[in-house]
């Protein structure tokens, strides 16, 4: 997956977790928590979906890397290089 695809993958996951949030306008650099209503429970759900869809294990101490979409793309890139973007459920 390219960086753009990873961002799309994370947005797809956020959409299933928080279906009422508007995710079209999310920018790459501001913390996700400041742009939409995401709490620490939602981050857990994102991690669980990443594991389910792409088999990526994100250890607890790395959750902070997922704070922004850019952070997600940078952190996940090495793990997702060989993966295809999953079609969202």
């Amino acid at each position: 997956m390219t960086h753009e695809e990873i961002v799309q993958a994370v947005k797809d996951i956020i959409h299933t977790i928080a279906p009422d949030e508007e995710i079209g306008g999310l920018n790459l650099t501001d913390p996700l928590r400041d742009q939409i209503e995401l709490d620490s429970m939602d981050f857990l759900d994102i991690v669980m979906e990443l594991r389910k869809r792409y088999g990526v294990q994100v250890p607890e101490e790395d959750y902070k890397e997922l704070a922004t979409l850019q952070g997600c793309a940078d952190y996940l890139a090495p793990h997702l290089a060989d993966h295809q973007l999953a079609t969202s459920a």
Binding site: I17, P19, M41, D42, L44, D45, V47, M48, R51, K52, G55, Q57
Partner: protein
């Protein structure tokens, strides 16, 4: 439960002796066995079942839900035990882990009222209204109120500075016992905490709870738990009631399964939703733990238990509008520990108007008090009956202040005590709200003691109540899912 414990009428009915083999349809092996069907256990089971794992829930009672329960009595009465109210966060939690059919039924309570010698008013239980009360009714400085909120919001599980809630209140509102009452009373009722508990437990709960109103589930607890049962079935989770887990079996430091009577069900992962103390003191043999850890974990203190009085109005009887939730006390001054006094002067009333169970037209009133196990545990049969009768009489007198002709409307009155809660859930000392703060640590550390064994359920004050328990179930499910994934990767090498 020790054999010397005796139960008397009123705390015995409702549990039926097993007929047939409740586990006849159970498989011999699951990925995950969940011990207990409280909201933490059920939520964890649902998330893991939905994720495709084979999951089984074993519950000793014939009903699911744990403390999230209800009971029926002749004359068409249905009483809810713990549906007084929960924070708005439950909406999102249910939406994510159970679906829209459940979250759409969560609605805001319309009226919450305080009535005590220091103040009497209605509140929307929102941050705006608390500000209004603190500033305009109590005369607090608006800047102080804001900085109090800010301090609470910044509080984090990881930075406990050892301060107590009492110290926190004294810092912001020195000498204002009335303000302390407003800020603490609802939370003491919601989770059994007192002014002596750490300020951070207060801060975390306050920010969730006393900010956007109080919520309830339309249709009642029975509808909620039935809906959850259906969803679990759709997600392939096997659920068995009347199945008392006697032991969590462990081999070479790793969980092997659970034993129900003579039958062992194997599982790579076990989640115990039984109380933390029961889990470490009764369900797992002590030699499987590091002894220093076990000794320290056993020191964990419990939160209080409860008493309740259930009052059912006859069909066609009406109740004037008072509030959904009424915090009452005749004590001149507030002191959180005294909320648990035997025959004390403080109680909450939940008025369940027909809107709770639309179409039934029925009203019930449930009053709750915090209570200490030690006040009830050793009463003789006759003293126990007398104490219950007094509790019911005191409660009716307190209710008459608000509904003078209440006695003529009622066709059923019944009470429960710490002994009832211990009997139904097997929680040590009938604890209603799990453990004090230190319990969270031992709950979280359990898998480091025994590989594959997790605890999930009310602990640490912050992980209690419907929302706390359900969220802790989700947190545990996430850890368990990671473990299963890890075990699969160990055995089946990926390309």
């Amino acid at each position: 439960m020790s054999r010397s414990t005796h139960y008397y009428t009123g705390s015995r009915d409702g549990k039926r002796p097993p007929s047939g083999d409740p586990l006849r349809k159970a498989k011999d092996r699951y990925d995950v066995v969940v011990v207990g069907s409280g909201l933490a256990g059920l939520t964890a089971a649902n998330i893991l079942g939905r994720a495709g794992h084979s999951v089984c829930v074993l519950e000793q009672h014939y009903n699911l839900g744990g403390m999230a329960t209800w009971f029926k009595r002749r004359g068409g009465h249905v009483f809810d035990i713990s549906l007084h109210g929960f924070p708005i966060g439950m909406q999102k939690t249910c939406r994510k882990y159970w679906g829209k059919s459940i979250s759409d039924r969560i609605v805001q309570l319309e009226g919450v009222r305080f009535d005590n010698p220091q103040f009497q008013f209605d509140t929307t239980f929102t941050r705006e209204d608390f500000t209004h009360k603190l500033v305009d009714v109590f005369g607090c400085n608006p800047a102080t109120v804001e900085s109090f909120y800010e301090t609470l919001r910044a509080m984090n599980y990881y930075d406990d500075d050892g301060r107590t809630t009492a110290e926190l209140f004294e810092e912001f509102f020195p000498g204002r016992n009335d303000v302390h009452r407003l800020l603490m009373e609802p939370i003491s009722y919601a989770n059994g905490s007192t002014l002596q508990d750490p300020a951070i437990t207060y801060g975390i709960v306050f920010s969730n709870f006393m900010s956007k109103g109080v919520y309830t589930f339309t249709g009642g607890t029975d509808l909620l738990i039935r809906a959850m049962r259906d969803i679990l079935a759709r997600n392939g989770v096997d659920v068995f009631g009347r199945s008392q887990v006697d032991e969590i079996t462990v081999e070479h430091g790793r969980v092997r399964g659970v034993r129900v009577g003579t039958r062992e069900i194997r599982a790579e992962t076990v989640i115990s939703n039984a109380g933390l103390k029961a889990t470490i003191e009764r369900l797992v043999a002590p030699d499987h733990f590091d002894s220093a850890w076990l000794d320290a974990a056993k020191q964990t203190r419990l939160n209080c238990s409860s008493t309740q009085v259930y009052m059912g109005l006859g069909p066609g009887e009406d109740l004037p509008w008072i509030a959904d939730l009424l915090f009452t006390s005749t004590r001149p001054e507030f002191d959180s520990a005294s909320l648990a006094d035997l025959h004390g002067q403080s109680r909450t009333f939940s008025f369940y108007y027909p809107k709770v169970r639309p179409g039934t037209g029925r009203h019930t009133v449930v009053s709750s008090m915090n209570a200490n196990w030690s006040d009830w545990a050793d009463l003789s049969e006759s003293d126990y009956a007398a104490a219950k009768a007094r509790l019911e009489e005191d409660t009716l007198r307190a209710l008459e202040v608000h509904v003078p002709d209440i006695r003529s409307k009622l066709t059923h009155v019944e009470s429960s005590t710490p002994r009832s809660f211990a009997f139904y859930t097997q929680h040590t000392q009938g604890a209603s709200f799990g453990t004090k703060f230190e319990g969270l640590r031992y709950s979280m550390e359990l898998p480091q003691q025994i590989e594959g064994l997790f605890h999930s359920g009310s602990v640490g004050i912050i992980m209690s109540g419907w929302l706390g328990a359900a969220n802790y179930g989700a947190i545990t499910a996430n850890k368990v899912d990671a473990r299963i994934d890890f075990l699969a990767a160990e055995t089946v090498p990926t390309s």
